[in-house]
Symmetry: C2
Subunit: 195 residues, 2 copies
């Protein structure tokens, strides 16, 4: 009985996949309406305005991301494997096209014209991800596994930018393999030479 998703969840599912392919202005209530067989007005019942809908969408995405990252921290044995697993997660999403781009990266590219309530949530996701990466790098340094040229926070920014840039290139060239080809060397170069 777990597969029975509520209507509002279905709305968010569709909206998310539409945003990932076309951004904030790339979808409409009518698109969602057609996709799940419900009238436009019914979607407005669940999410009065588009800003409400996308805000709820980003909130859910952030909760899922945070849960996933926490799981990785607890599950994967070493910081190096945590980064590897995170990369593998995205590799799978891109390969099977289930989520071929980060929702917040997509929205960030349109940052200047997003409703403020959405923009602030997108910023929060960037902060959260950068923080997680920095803490993983920090742990790796403490365990003598990583050798960083800069402070963990700065290296985390470099790594996050590589991740997003790699998603963009994979999309531009329609080549899912390009994502790993770009990200893997960036993770590899962090490894301390003596291990």
């Amino acid at each position: 009985m777990k597969s029975m998703a509520s209507t509002s969840e279905k709305i968010l599912d569709i909206a998310q996949s539409l945003i990932v392919t076309g951004g904030y202005n790339g979808f409409s209530y009518a698109d969602i309406s057609a996709a799940i067989g419900i009238r436009k007005a019914s979607i407005h019942h669940h999410f009065p305005t588009k800003a409400d809908l996308v805000s709820a969408l980003v909130d859910r995405y952030r909760r899922q991301a945070e849960a996933g990252l926490t799981f990785l921290r607890e599950q994967a044995s070493s910081p190096a494997e945590q980064l590897q697993s995170y990369m593998n997660y995205w590799q799978t999403c891109i390969r099977d096209a289930s989520l071929p781009f980060c929702v917040c990266a997509m929205l960030a590219s349109e940052m200047q014209m997003l409703p403020e309530e959405v923009a602030s949530r997108v910023r929060a996701h960037f902060h959260g991800l950068a923080g997680w990466l920095a803490s993983v790098l920090q742990a790796g340094v403490e365990q003598g596994l990583f050798r960083l040229d800069k402070r963990p926070e700065e290296e985390a920014q470099v790594l996050m930018a590589s991740l997003h840039g790699a998603m963009l290139s994979a999309r531009a060239f329609s080549d899912p393999g390009l994502f790993v080809a770009i990200v893997a060397p960036q993770i590899a170069r962090l490894r301390s030479p003596d291990c």
Copy 2:
């Protein structure tokens, strides 16, 4: 008399800045119309369809980019300085907000829903930029200035992804300085240790 830009150039100027902030679906003929004081129908005279307009826009952008990159190759003395100058160019664009994002990077994020005539041009820009970067890296290796872990083409992809990711982060955090903070270390690490 050189400052007297033609109407079609003015249309492309406005459209470019609108695309850079909001993407393909983030602007309309009415927006351009209002910005340059001309009727919508007059814009259709110059560019019959939106796909025509954006195609012409990307063509012009690609010509300018190619000219700029060729100039850098001829002007800057060493491959290292060529990369540095390219980064500085974008730093200036981002700082003064004249072009705070690459037109083609913006469009690439919406790749899947672009008209094919636009999509192919965006892909061509990615190929061209990756090729230029690869040739600069290749030259650097031949002159003993760079020490690469991988083939120049692969390193070029890594570098290009960092550039685009850095633009995105700078935008997400509204922090122009973040662009250089991310890209500079990526260029620095290419340098051969013995020089």
